[in-house]
Amino acid sequence: MKRLMALFLFLGCVRSPSDSLLYILLLQIRSGKITLNGQDIKGAYKTALVEVYPLTQEGDCDLGNLLAKDYTDKYGKYSISYPPTGSLVCVKVKP
């Protein structure tokens, strides 16, 4: 079964957040592209669904108007492009 790794650190105590298994879901957005980086160690996020939506006037994700979607790769990365809205956007990451 494929497993999606999220960024939850379950720990007794922390010495250094990066000294052991650590998964961070990162969105790197450049020039109209959104890039999801799984930063970690072993495997990162796999096949997580990433969706980008515009916002409604009341600040909700306009779920009926999907701008773009993509999946993370085996390294937890993806690149997704959508027409710029010039405003705020809503990004959802789902298993």
Binding site: A6, V14, R15, P17, L26, L88
Partner: protein, 154 residues
């Protein structure tokens, strides 16, 4: 004391959804990645509460900034800001503006950020429904914080 990190895996059948509201201009040309995390989910919840009933699309950016900076303060994500009664919003960076170096384990910003996430996970462990902490447990904790933060009162 033993220091240990463990990871909770999210199965494809889980209900864990992370979201983030972000202004496009904030990521144009930036080098540092923006993390999508429980913190951004909480910010989104606060933002949605502030924006409820809004009729001016131009006001969304200001509301977003408010929600974002509130959470930066609440969670102490910018250690360089000295909290005082006269603290101006201009002195507080947004989450995207904080120069987090994820690759540096000694980076104060990343340590602060990850410590908050660790706290969520610890709470999930303390309040787990089964014998082991699950993604659902973590999701429940995040949801509690998101709902609690929505009114801006802590």
């Amino acid at each position: 004391m033993t220091k240990k990190l463990k990871l909770t895996a999210v199965s494809s059948g889980s209900n864990l959804v992370l979201d983030m509201v972000v202004p496009e201009f904030s990521f144009a040309g930036r080098k540092n990645p923006i993390a999508t995390s429980p913190i951004t989910r909480i910010i989104s919840s606060r933002f949605a509460s502030l924006a409820k009933g809004n009729t001016d699309p131009k006001a969304l950016s200001k509301l977003y900034l408010r929600a974002n900076k509130e959470m930066v303060i609440r969670f102490g994500l910018n250690k360089k800001v000295k909290i005082s009664k006269n603290l101006s919003g201009d002195e507080v960076p947004t989450l995207e503006e904080i120069p987090i170096n994820w690759n540096d384990p000694k980076d104060l910003y990343s340590v602060s950020y990850l410590s908050v996430l660790a706290g969520f996970s610890q709470l999930a462990s303390s309040h787990k429904q089964g014998s082991t902490v699950s993604v659902g447990d973590v999701n429940s904790i995040i949801e509690v914080f998101a709902k609690d933060a929505s009114d801006g009162v802590f």
